[in-house]
Symmetry: C2
Subunit: 274 residues, 2 copies
């Protein structure tokens, strides 16, 4: 099954475009997690996964939060848990890798074999041969940074090219028209810039978009959905991390996360007219 | 001691601008390493480090080659070994990370606390706030991708901006004039494009350059040194990986690596007029 087929099924399964980002910041783990060690990181993430699984299309563990604590073995267990318990949902590894071919091949093995991710985020700065090795796994997705939601996102991405086009839009066009010959690509486009999501959608057709920036980063759900939906009213993995993970720091953390996820799912669906 | 001070001392110690990249490809390990497992990866890298240490200014482990084999514990041991055995040489973690502030903070912890690297390579696509968290470790270096030596390097980096300047040169200027207010930055500029190294050198003053692409990637040593040297005749970490690591696949792998490293060091020094 191709990544886009799995993603479409995941959108349909829970009628949800919401993706939950698993960014376990040890300084913000709720009350019951006293040790703030790799075991706590794993158990917190599993608890979030179980609490929010009915309301999402997938999960996106961010590898940095594991790597900083030597918790790669726990990330392996978590990925395995997600794949076994929720095989109908998408598992995306947020790693934003970018390196030359022979090294990218190692990163692809890390994402697709070691962690068994359905998709991985990558950086386009080093060009096509830094992306191609990922296509050797034909059933996986490769989600390429285009326009990011952070303040410094504009430093490079908003630079105007000779053609008058900003860099991020050139990247969108390059990916949709040249790099996506295997149909495995998607793009990261931040929710803080709905007009720019609309411009990207216009040049990329039905390419799936990973849209971070909802919730803690302040993106507007209605504007995002109007700008980013594809012809089927889907086309987006709208990511929320902190607003769901840390909805409560007390013993009700799981209930609070579930409520926050459900509320976000519903807000997205209202914006889709469902 | 600042990173630039440590680097200058390392250049002087062995009179060498050569950096050895530790990219342990398990399919290419020499004859004695039968298991091709994490222990073999570690022992091969330690053997290369010991054999080449007299001829280099530093070592650059590439994390992907460890991560693909769940060999992060071995990378920790290797980094610790380099720091204890060769404290006068530079330890650079080649990770090419790039993410928003809160996540970049985790990657900085990974590089600077877990692996105790003197410097780390990062990607500029997400802008200044994806770089800033690394500056919280004032004695460490942050080496930013500018112009890479791979074929796809031109896809984005060579795009012409409205100003007529190619993107990579804009990045060089941005880093040298705006992002480097703590004096911790360096740039990655591939050896396959000596004229471009010269252009970068012209806009960045004495900023240290990490120059991959010598050896297996075919970069010309003389042209590189002429283009990249700073006012002191140094300013470069010229990286070679495969041509040294895999100089022999037989039992003489350590001697062959030492000879290859020494020959490269000497070729670089001849080009410097030493």
């Amino acid at each position: 099954m191709s990544f886009t087929t799995k993603l479409a099924a995941a959108w349909a399964h829970n009628q949800s475009l919401l993706m939950v980002g698993l960014d376990p910041d040890t300084s913000r783990l709720p009350e019951p997690f006293l040790h703030r060690d790799p075991t706590d990181i794993l158990n917190f993430c599993k608890g979030i996964v179980d609490a929010t699984a009915p309301y999402v299309c997938g999960f996106k563990p961010q590898i940095a939060y594991f790597a900083a604590h030597a918790a790669e073995p726990q990330l392996e267990v978590l990925c395995d848990y997600i794949r076994r318990s929720y095989p109908h949902l998408v598992l995306m590894l947020d790693a934003k890798r970018g390196d030359i071919g022979s090294t990218a091949d190692q990163y692809a093995k890390e994402a697709f074999e070691r962690y068994q991710a359905d998709a991985v985020t990558v950086n386009p700065y080093m060009g096509l041969d830094s992306i191609e090795p990922y296509f050797a796994w034909p059933d996986r997705g490769v989600i390429i940074l285009c326009r990011t939601s952070n303040p410094g996102g504009s430093d490079l991405q908003f630079l105007k090219l000779e053609s008058g086009q900003p860099l991020y839009l050139h990247v969108a066009e390059l990916v949709a028209k040249k790099w996506n010959h295997h149909g495995q690509c998607g793009l990261v486009v931040g929710a803080t810039f709905p007009e720019e999501i609309a411009q990207v959608r216009q040049v990329v057709g039905d390419l799936p978009l990973l849209i971070p920036g909802i919730g803690a980063q302040g993106g507007d759900i209605d504007a995002t959905v109007q700008a980013g939906r594809d012809a089927n009213g889907t086309g987006m993995m709208i990511n929320s991390s902190r607003a769901i993970l840390y909805a409560s720091s007390g013993i009700d953390w799981q209930d609070a996360a579930a409520r926050a996820a459900q509320a976000t799912q519903q807000a997205i669906n209202r914006a889709r007219g469902l």
